[in-house]
Symmetry: C2
Subunit: 336 residues, 2 copies
């Protein structure tokens, strides 16, 4: 059975409830954005029908794990229909192996969506765009130029391969709002293509910036941000008071690390050290906010206790800013 | 059975599908915003489960019609749970009789929502706020300050009576985004209270404007807009080349009217005149856009052919602008 690409989620849902089968969505553990679960809830599918797929240590979905869970689901009589791959995860900045996932989606006739909200910007860089190889095989892509591209909030795009699909899904033809007897080509009226009605023209900012900078200009911005990430990675490797969360060079501009305060240096790993390390980042972040000198985020992930996560999206950041960041963290945490 | 006010729509939906009963929503015909149907579709309830309630000639829901359709639905074993009342309909600017609707919702234990997107601004005016009497008895209210209040797009509020409900509905507790171990009171972090994640701080514009103008300033703005509507209404009554769609004085700032071009004056009403009149507003609107002198919208509604709909939300509009509008329509349509 080939899922109809022009079915709206709601119609798919009806289709599935008629056959009384579970719906399965796939989303990989710890790395997919929580909006996948949230959307499944809002659409009435229920978050229990979102299935997590294991990823490797660097946060990439493991294709074999995806395939085996699809097979298991089918054997149990469920109807998988949608796979959420991620190009640039929120915390690690990991890129899923899109071509391998596309092969699986093709074999099992599943809708392949790529959440490139954070990583999509890399397509503008000749140096980094190969990290998204395979994205052209997906059925839909989300891309938030307000993230990597520096476009002011909010500017989010959903790109769908099948022409006319968004209108088919969202068109309610409210004649009192979307008149069809205007004296110009009403196919340019996009209001009925989206879920919302009255909206700010969010794309105008992007259009203007693109006109001003060109793809090359955007590409240089991206390159600069990723160079900064590499510089931070190099500095962290050199310093003994910091520890990297991932050993490999960052693929995106995310760099995740712990600051190891004096009292924890040389301590053996284990629950006691973890419990104390878990409190370091929040305390330093609190001091950052009080002092107002720098600010970066932190979070735990899976079995990893609170760590700092530095992302670069402002190309104006210089290496000396990065040096200052690390020195400042050291200053703020030297009594811990 | 009292519906649980803290149920999310999704959970309500599940509750209802367990009993295998239809869900019924109520929405009055021709006047409710099309987003009611759209939301029912997105949530997986289906637009067939949205029931229209008849309204009177001025566009107000007829309470007796609401009650009788609820009773009929219950007799058929359905479970009505939500009534959408409107305070300020899009086309006519009509206000539903909220107190009478609240009585019915109370009797049948239904969620009463007031769509005050357009009419909510009148609450800021001592002169006009009585038009929303009964709104305080509703369970939830939508209000778009970007409409009547002149706040730039977009600025939309949903107000819910039950404290904590939005967080209960939308909270996914994604720990990698909404840290709970911050050094300040995280109850001020509202990100997990809404459906969307990354958002512009839409309310800041409203807050600033409110600080600057005060409730009194906003009230004067509203009064001015409604005075303009009354002025337009008076002028339309005096002129023989225009015809009002509603005979009564406008309640909101909406004024709906036809321009009757020379060739149609004195023609008897009927299908032939209607067919020709239907084309007048779109043609004049086209000429407005080409000339660039004025611009107002038009639409058909029910059995009424295309008519102009003028709404005032900019308090800077003067009576001479309104005179110009009518003179300009006459100029643009004098050869029709």
């Amino acid at each position: 059975m080939r899922p109809q690409l022009n079915e709206t989620p709601t119609r798919l849902q009806c289709l599935l409830s008629e056959t009384n089968e579970d719906e399965w969505l796939y989303s990989h553990s710890f790395q997919s954005h929580y909006s996948v679960k949230k959307s499944a809830t809002v659409l009435g599918m229920g978050s229990d029908n979102v299935f997590m797929v294991k990823c490797d240590e660097s946060g990439k979905m493991i294709p074999a794990e995806l395939e085996s869970s699809i097979v298991t689901a089918k054997e149990k009589g469920s109807v998988p229909f949608y796979v959420n791959a991620t190009a640039g995860t929120t915390v690690y900045g990991a890129f899923d192996p899109l071509n391998a996932i596309a092969d699986i989606c093709q074999r099992h006739t599943l809708w392949m969506h790529v959440d490139a909200a954070w990583g999509g910007g890399l397509l503008l860089s000749d140096r980094h765009k190969m990290k998204l190889r395979g994205i052209e095989r997906s059925c839909s892509v989300t891309w938030n130029p307000h993230k990597m591209m520096g476009v002011p909030l909010q500017c989010s795009a959903i790109l769908v391969k099948k022409r006319g699909l968004l209108r088919q899904c969202n068109d309610f033809g409210a004649e009192y709002l979307f008149q069809t007897d205007k004296n110009y080509d009403v196919s340019y009226d996009t209001g009925d293509k989206s879920i919302q009605c009255g909206r700010h023209v969010d794309v105008f900012k992007l259009w203007l910036m693109w006109k001003a900078k060109g793809s090359e200009g955007f590409g240089s911005q991206v390159n600069k941000c990723l160079e900064n990430a590499e510089y931070l990675y190099d500095q962290l490797q050199r310093r003994t008071d910091f520890e990297l969360v991932l050993k490999n060079k960052p693929e995106h501009s995310n760099v995740c690390f712990w600051y190891i305060p004096p009292s924890l240096r040389g301590r053996p790993p284990g629950p006691d050290r973890d419990a104390r390390l878990h409190q370091v980042a929040p305390r330093i972040k609190g001091r950052m906010m009080e002092k107002g000198s720098v600010m970066i985020g932190y979070q735990p992930l899976g079995d990893k206790v609170n760590f700092f996560r530095c992302v670069f999206s402002n190309p104006a950041t210089q290496q000396e800013d990065i040096d200052f960041l690390l020195d400042e963290i050291t200053r703020l945490g030297e009594d811990m």
